[in-house]
Structure formats: C-alpha cells, structure tokens
Amino acid sequence: MTAYIVRRLLYAIPILIGVNLLTFMLFFVVNSPDDMARMHLGQKRVTEEAIRSWKAERGYDRPLLYNAEAEGLASLTETILFQKSVKLFVFQFGSSDDGRDIGYDISQRMWPSLAIAVPVLLIGLAFNISYALFIVFFRATYVDLGSVVLLVAMMSISGLFYIIGGQFLIGKLWHLVPISGYDQGLNAWKFLILPVIVGVVAGIGSGTRWYRTLFLEEIGRDYVRTARAKGLSERVVLFRHVLRNALIPILTGVVVVLPLLFMGSLITESFFGIPGLGSYTIDAISNQDFAIVRAMVFLGAVLYILGLILTDISYTLVDPRVRLQ
C-alpha cells in the first residue's frame, strides 16, 4: 500500500507540470508582461521606465520560455516560466502583483472557506441521506412520486436563485441575520448561517436524487431478497443492509471532495462577502492578478489529485476485497 501511494504521488508530478504549463500558456499567449505592467500601473501615464521597474520588481524581466543570453542550463532556468513555476512545487507561492504574500493570504483565507464548506457538506449529507432513505422506505407510493417531482424541480433552479431568494427572505424580509459580511473568530457564526442554509438547500435536489437511485439499485440485489426471505422487517433491511452496502459509493463521493473544500465556492463567497479562497480567486480573476490565479490553479490541482488518492485508500478501508497494488 505504501508503495502504491508513493507511486501515485510520483504520477502526480507530470500532471502538475502539465497544469502549470497550461495555465502559463493560457495567460501569456496573448498577454505579455508589458500588458500586465500597463494594466497594473494604469493605462495612461505609463513610461517605459515605470514598466521596466515594475517588471524587474516582480521578476517579469526575464524571457518567457527560453533565455538566449544565458549559457548552458541557465538558458532554461533564467526564464519566467522556470522562476515562477518551480517554487510552486514546494508551496512557495511568492507574492501577488500588488505585493502581498500569497502563502500568508491563503493560510488566512482558507478558514472562512472551511467554515462554510464543512457544515454544508455534513448537514447536506445527513439530510440528503435521511431523506433518500425515507423516500425509499415509501417507494412506489405517492410519497415517492411527489418527492421525485419536488427533487427534479429543486435541481432545475439555478443556484443563483437560491442565494438571491435566501438573502431576500431571511436577510431582508425577516431580518434574522445580516445579508453579507464577516467577523473575526466565533462572532462569525451569524454571517455563516445564511450561506450554509443556502448551500444545503441548493444541494438537496441533486443530492437526494442521487442517493435515492443508489439505494434503489442496492435494493434490487440478491442479498436484499435473501434478507427479506429470511423474514427481516423492511426497516432492518433498509438500515442494516442497504445503507451499509451503499456506503462505498457515498464515501467515494465524499472523500474526493474533502480536500477541495479548502478552495471554497466562488459564487457563494463573493455573494455573501465571505473573505475565503473563493472570493480571493474571483477578485484575482477580475484584477488579472496572474500570480494568485496560478497559485490557486496549482493548489486546486494538488488537492484534486490528493482527493483521488484518498478515495482509493478509503476503498480498501470499507471493502476488504479491494487491494491496491
């Protein structure tokens, strides 16, 4: 198993290099460092001198991919690509274009993101699974039919409307919690309730429907028929057998998103004014802050790969038949 994990980690390196190259190309195919400097300094009153010093300050004064002036290996290392990429692999994110330390920003901003993402995940999971079990218990009745109609309707509503509706009803009409903003420490709770509720509600439609299908598929299996034949009650069959056996697909779905929780949600965070990583990325995108966007893309890729490995490991824990080689 250790060998397997090590091999998977080694596999991650070429993928991360690919991710890096891709984002680099995407950005610099049309944008030159001169354009970036001009944008940050303001279009109008820009002298050549100012651009040069801006580039030198941030290390954009080297050639992009190949340095013809340097000799030997340095012709490849003395480039923007190399200088800006290699440090990412040891999680040295450097500083953003307006001079802030990206690593520090990320370490500060991941907590608000987690404070929303973790409750949304846990509450959503608990609610969706119980609701799905409830529907399956009453399958092929009007409860089932009505619920499925409701779920399809719920998943046909854009996430934007859940946010707008939640803010309008709970925040503006009922004045229960502030509409947006954030506070330090434990005082943040009243700013977090609304995004969490909205997040959970928005996920009910597709989530519950997915679990329902999963349970229904499981209920058609032979062992369930055996369990019924031996006289177990429907409740016991459902909770002790079906739920336990459906755990594997549920678990894989959960484990793979666990690392990604750090990234937060772009839309939710920017809507509610939560200073998490999601809104951080959105701001960076609108400011065209390449350093931050690259760092976030890289971080996202690392977490994604981590999630995949975790999923594989979790397989072996729930299902003894699975062996990793």
């Binding site: 046909s156 934007l160 893309v297």
Partner: protein, 470 residues
Amino acid sequence: MPLIPVVLWTDALVFLLLAVTALFAVWAARHEHLRAPWRRVVRSRIGVATLVVLSAYAVIGLLDTLHFKLKLDRADESGEVRYAPEVLSLLDLTLSGLRERQEKTYSAPFATHLHAKEALDQPDGTVIRDYPRLQHGGAHLADPEHDRAWDIARRALIGLIEGLILWALLAAGLIRRLARHHGQPFDTVRDRILRGQTQIPWRTALGTLAPVLILTFVIGELALKYHVLGTDKVGEDVLYQALKSIRTGLLIGTLTTLIMLPAAILFGIMAGYFRGWVDDVIQYLYTTLNSIPGVLLIAATILMLQVYMSNHADEFASLVERADLRLLFLCLILGVTSWTGLCRLLRGEALKLREIDYVQAAQALGVGHFTIIARHILPNVMHIVLITLVLDFSGLVLAEAVLSYVNIGVDPTMNSWGNMINSARLELARDPIVWWSLAAAFLFMFTLVLAANLFADVVRDAFDPRLRGV
C-alpha cells in the same frame, strides 16, 4: 432584395447541428435497434409532454438564429442599395413592437405608469411630482384606473379564443392524418385519443400543446398594448429580453457538446481500443485538464479573449459579431472542461468492447483497426454519447447563468438569463422592490431546465441497456 442574410459563426454551427440531427434521424429510422429506444421515448407521457415544451423553446431559438440586415429606405446619392448596420433576427422582426417600445425606466408588469416619480408639468403651468404615464404600456387607455382590468381581461379572452382555435385546427389535422394512416373513421380515432388509448400518448401531447398555444396567444395579445413582464432599468421590455435569452441558453447547451463531441469520441475510443502509449498519453491529457478547477480555466480563457479583443478591436465589424465570437469561445472552453467525463466513459466502454468475441474475430480475420472502430465500437457506444448529451444539457444552461453572473460568461451586451440576473441583482434592495426581471429569468430558465431534466430521464431510461426490460 429587402434584406441581406447574415450568418454568424454560431448560426452556421446551428445549421450544421440541424443537418447532423436530420441525418441521424434518417439513419436511426432505418435501424431497428436505434428506433426502438426512441419509440420508448415518444411513448412515455413525460417524454412527449417535455418534447412539446422543448420544441416551443427550439422554435423561438431557431427564429432568433436566422439573422439578416434590413435594406434602408433611402439609398445614398450613387443609388447604391444600403443595408442597415444592425443585425436582426426573424424573432426581432416578429417582436419588433416589443423591441422598439422602450420606456424611460422601470415599470411594473401591466403598468400604465412609471415605477418612479418624476416632476410633471401640469397644463396650468404648475409642476407636481407624480408617476408619469408610460409612453407605450397601456397608452391607449383614457382612464387607466378604471379601464385597465377590463381591457386586460378582454384581450386575454381574445388571445384564449385564438389559441383554442389554432389548437383545435392542429388537433383536427392530426386526427385526420392518424385516421387516414390507420384506415379508421375520424370519430373512432378522436375517441381513442380522448380515452388515452393510443400507443403514442397523443392526449398528453395535445394536452401540453393547448396551454403552450393559449399562453402564447394571450401573451401576444397583451404584449401589443402592455409590458407583460414590465420593463428594466433602461426601459427595455423584460419579456423581449427573456425571449431573446432563449437562443443563448439553447446554444450553450447544445453547441458546447457538439463542438467537443468529436474529440471526446475520438480520444475515448482510441485510448480504450489501442491501449498502450496512446492510452497513457490520452489519460495524461484528460487527468491534467480535469485537475484544473473548471471555473478557473474558463475564467482564464475568457480573460485572454477579452484582452485579445480589446487589442484587435478593428477586426470585429459589429457588437453582435463580437458577442457571437465570445459565445462561440465560451462554448468551446465549456466543452474543453466537460469532454473529459465523456472521454473517460467511452474509454472504459471501448476497453470492454475490444475483448468481445466479434471484435476479436474481426481482428483475427485481419479487418483494419478503423473499420473495426467504425463498424463495431462506435455504434455500440452511441447510447452513452446520447445519454451524456441530454444529461449535460441542463447543467450547461445553468452554468451559463452562473458564469455570466461573474462576468466570465457571454458578452454583457448579449441577452442571456445570467446577464438579466446580474443586472437585476440589486433591484430587490430597492424600495418598492423591482422583482419582475428576476422572476422572468427564473420562469423561463426553470421551464427549460425542468423540461430538459425530465426529458433526459426518459432518454436515459430508454437507452440505458442496464435498465432495459425493467
């Protein structure tokens, strides 16, 4: 010629899509194994009901895809024929009343007065602050407070009757056709449809068509004199915006997959069929793409395009072409982020299929790789492609709204539900609140996505071999 046709990039792709669909329909009609699942689709009641709704959307979208420039009335000195600079669509022409009747600013649905107070000059020279009459909405009424309700009811009733007449004509035509086809008398067929005894649930189809037609005519009658869904901040009719947004939504949903479909099918099958280094390269490719968070990739590309456009502004003849290119690009990049899923599915299926006896036999007989792929593998994975297509559609329509909302979606000048929501986001905070833009976007989007979701379920049930015979 009174007009000159204009074919935008996305228009051309829509025509291509229509051609492909038509070819596929002819092909499927000749092959029993392809016809059978479709028969299951049209025999399900949800299937036909959603098909009617989706067709209504598709008709509006297609009307909006036929673009042209109108001839100007006055030719210039040299006598040359001149065309108007703006690109219009057939839908614009149909709705020209809605398009041209602009108010000053917000007005509520069916309002006769503006939503905000203004200083009004009275006939006796004094100035008072009050809600001014709208220039177009209900302008024909002498005494709006007294006449409005009656006028609306009367027009709605006219629309209702018109809709019913058209529906009755269509229904009669259908029954006549069915009667001739089955060699049965008209009354028998009619009774069987009424009792729901036909194989294709015509009762459901006609039952869905009736409200669609009636609603169209009622709204059409009312829209002649009122702003049925109100007007937005700059006084544009919200109903017009919502209808124009249909094309954007449909295009994002269909073109995205169409653009990336060839790549997904080619790479997926190649990876599964050839295995070895081909598989490794393709797997590397899609794992890398998959590891990048989709929104970031989309954001980066759209930013890139924006920079390119602002640097090469002279290459784009008009705003419409610019917006169109951006839409095409958005479809492309959405495709890039979504082809990986289908590719992986197809790879798995191809891995399985290449071990099946008849493929092995073909290989042993020396049949070429590409013949095997075309003859045996491709037809056997088409159901996966189709299921993925319909399942992805609604997700893409929803994604468009979110992306446009964060300004990395379609061009801000283009009508889309995302842009409508974006410009209406702060209107709920106004007092009194302005809810109609949001409600319109919600209503139109919800209907389309709900119909698409339900239709996708039916298609999946019909095509998924695992569910067959259940």
